[in-house]
């Protein structure tokens, strides 16, 4: 029915004009009155386009001839001058009408173009700014659905990129309708890899009516990577040509987005691998240095003991032996830290917790670290009345040892190392402080990463930089926190807390 509207409009316009001219006849010369028809043609052209304009022109030509050109009420024209004028009218009407209609089409096209450009730009913007493919596609689907006034729009991509299809719908009924168009099948491929394939039926069931679902391919450089499923409004079941075009462009744009997401994921994977490789090289380098340094001292001392050209005194012999012992213990600590780290990296970190007296633990650590802190004064500040804390004794002992070892390593001999324990509300607070050069605020977070050592001009740095990394993991496995106290003005102060639960009685 719709397509007869323009012709009907042309008919009405010409009829109204004829009536007006009829009324005016006798008051003005008829030849000028024909101009009124041109107005009618223009109006029809602007409102209904070229076909309607041409129809109106011909109709006006015939009507004018029939009613107003003598002899009236027949199509014959007596005066040859009238023939010329009528022909001129027809040409003018058709040309004017066509031009007006073209202007209108252009204006429409421009408006449509602007709409499409905005729509595509917004879609592209969303795709580009949202790194998560699932979320990006959901946003784009809803965007197109709303703009094209569809009931539902689904995006389905190969399952490696997108786990399940994305559907944007006006309401739940439409969503269900689109979902019901496909049945999931599991196909066994020849090599045994199973792939989920969705077979899309041509019709969706909405209520009692079956409706056509349009399928638009999503492709990248000729390869189909997915599809759009389009459920138009129930009262406008057909898509216009511009809607079709829009959806095709949307398909291409989505293809690019999916491709980009895939590449980005690939790039991230490659970067992760590269970093892991780099870390491994760094580790080997650091570890070989860390293992070889004590070995060099051990070999030099052992070689000295075996020399027969010098009669070593008791004291000298003892010095070599204790160097061997200290450095062997150091090797053991390095190996222990490495094992801890590999255990942590493998995720096998479950603290074996039991209730322990914190004071005893701190004293134990201070005693074991004596060879390392021999050049320093160690001051313990542990209140008598601390409650027992549930912790993994070995791990927390390791945390404290690593902190004390760092303090001894990085502060000048003869200065004081403080170990302080205090109860905060809900947590037990441990502090290890020294009077060394301190930790710059900018480095305060970085030093907890593995293999990070502070480089300071004119100061010897030793160690792989595993100590703090391990301490952090252990503390965090206890649901505690560890940090560098930035308020420490003289030297470094590292603090960690462990949660204290009431011991149930």
């Amino acid at each position: 029915m719709r397509r007869f509207v323009p012709y009907f409009a042309a008919l009405v316009a010409v009829a109204v004009t004829t009536l007006l001219i009829q009324l005016a006849v006798g008051r003005t010369p008829v030849a000028n009155l024909s101009m009124l028809y041109l107005v009618a043609v223009l109006v029809v052209a602007v409102a209904y386009g070229r076909t309607a304009a041409i129809a109106a022109s011909i109709l006006a030509f015939l009507t004018f001839d029939w009613f107003f050109v003598p002899p009236t009420h027949q199509l014959v024209v007596a005066d040859p001058e009238e023939v010329f004028s009528l022909a001129l009218f027809l040409i003018t009407a058709v040309v004017t009408g066509t031009l007006a209609a073209r202007e209108r089409a252009r204006a429409n096209e421009a408006r449509r173009g602007e709409f499409e450009a905005t729509l595509l730009y917004e879609a592209a913007f969303r795709i580009a700014t949202e790194p998560d493919l699932d979320r990006a596609l959901s946003a784009v689907a809803e965007h197109f659905r709303a703009a094209l006034d569809l009931d539902a729009l689904g995006i389905e991509v190969d399952p490696e990129s997108l786990a399940r299809p994305v559907i944007a719908a006006r309401d739940d009924t439409s969503r269900e309708a689109l979902r019901s168009t496909g049945t999931e099948l599991r196909l066994m491929e020849p090599h045994g890899t199973s792939r989920s394939v969705r077979i899309v039926g041509p019709r969706a069931i909405t209520g009692d009516r079956a409706r056509r679902v349009r399928v638009v391919p999503i492709s990248v450089s000729g390869n189909r990577v997915g599809r759009l499923q389009v459920l138009p409004r129930s009262d406008v079941p057909d898509l216009g040509p511009s809607d079709e075009r829009m959806l095709a462009i949307a398909g291409a744009q989505l293809g690019l987005a999916i491709e980009r997401a895939r590449l980005r994921k690939g790039a991230v994977d490659a970067e992760v691998l590269r970093r892991a490789d780099e870390l491994k090289t760094e580790l080997l380098h650091a570890v070989s240095h860390e293992l070889r340094t004590p070995l060099a001292s051990i070999l030099a001392s052992a070689g000295s003991l075996r020399q027969r050209d010098v009669a070593w005194t008791e004291r000298e012999r003892d010095e070599f032996a204790s160097a061997i012992q200290d450095e062997a213990l150091r090797l053991d600590r390095v190996v222990g830290n490495l094992l801890d780290l590999s255990r942590i990296e493998n995720g096998n970190l479950v603290p074996h917790k039991a209730w322990h007296d914190v004071g005893a633990l701190v004293e134990d650590v201070a005693g074991k670290m004596r060879p390392i802190t021999a050049g320093h004064t160690v001051r313990l500040d542990v209140p008598e009345d601390l409650p027992p804390v549930e912790l993994d004794y070995v791990e927390i002992q390791q945390v404290l040892s690593n902190l004390v070892e760092n303090a001894a390593k990085f502060s000048p001999r003869g200065t004081e190392i403080g170990i302080r324990v205090a109860q905060d509300d809900g947590s037990m607070r441990f502090e290890v402080s020294d009077h060394g050069p301190g930790i710059p605020a900018a480095e305060a977070d970085r030093i907890f990463a593995p293999f990070v050592r502070l480089q300071r001009a004119g100061q010897a740095t030793r160690g792989v930089g595993l100590g703090l990394a391990i301490a952090k993991r252990f503390v965090e496995a206890h649901a505690g926190t560890i940090w560098v106290d930035r308020r420490a003005t003289d030297g470094a102060r590292v603090v960690f807390t462990l949660p204290v639960q009431p011991s149930g009685g």
Binding site: T293, S297, Q307
Partner: protein, 240 residues
């Protein structure tokens, strides 16, 4: 046995030991004192330079891998002031560090971990060389069965005269005036070919090979011209 008697204060050559590892410093101090040397120690570059400036030692044992490249700074500091022999200690795989240290003027190097006897031997060679510098003023130089008459530019191996080209002769002369000292490719190239050379190691390798064919009894297992892998060459001599 007088094992428990306190050792008398050593009176031998004065050595400065620089290493950032306290255990290594302690061991070397005890051992070298036991061998009669007077030992000063330093754990940082500033301590080392201060000690050197206070009273220059006869020889320096230096761990080149101090943090921040300070080891090289020490070599530079000493070479600006004197020719005190420097024996560099470096980690295995640190060939670039060794070459840099030698180019800066260090005399010898040892790779950590090292045998203490080997270090003592190197220290003694360097000190002996210091006591009896090869000035090039002697008329004849003899090492093993190799004899070089500097006046006549004549070379004999076990009494048999050997003909050397001028370049081969110049190269041999550089080795003979620096016996038992590691010479980097760059040093040899600059002394024999001139200051514009330095990266043309292949020239050098060709000439060393020719020289070995002429002066070594078994060029495959040289006794005089030893290769220091990745670093350069050394003329070994018991007599010089």
């Amino acid at each position: 046995m007088a094992a428990s008697a306190p050792r008398p204060e050593p009176t031998g050559a004065r050595l400065l030991v620089v290493d950032d590892e306290p255990a290594m410093v302690r061991t070397l101090r005890t051992n070298l004192r036991g061998h009669g040397f007077q030992v000063e120690t330093a754990e940082t570059a500033s301590e080392a330079k201060a000690s050197y400036d206070r009273r220059p030692p006869d020889l320096v044992v230096l761990d080149i891998n101090l943090p921040d490249g300070d080891g090289f700074e020490i070599v530079r500091h000493i070479r600006e002031r004197s020719g005190t022999p420097i024996i560099v200690l470096s980690a295995r795989g640190g060939e670039r560090d060794k070459v840099s240290a030698l180019d800066l003027g260090a005399d010898d190097y040892m790779t950590k971990p090292f045998g203490i006897d080997e270090l003592l031997a190197r220290i003694r060679v360097a000190l002996r060389h210091l006591a009896r510098p090869a000035t090039g003023a002697e008329r004849r130089i003899r090492t093993g069965e190799l004899v070089v008459d500097l006046e006549r530019r004549e070379v004999t191996v076990a009494g048999r005269q050997v003909h050397l080209t001028p370049t081969e002769y110049d190269l041999l002369k550089v080795f003979l005036t620096n016996p038992n000292k590691v010479l980097t490719d760059r040093m040899l190239l600059q002394q024999v070919w001139g200051p514009d050379y330095g990266d043309e190691s292949h020239y050098l390798h060709v000439y060393v090979a020719r020289l070995r064919r002429k002066i070594e009894t078994d060029p495959q297992a040289p006794k005089h011209l030893l290769t220091e892998p990745g670093v350069g060459y050394r003329l070994r001599s018991e007599d010089l």
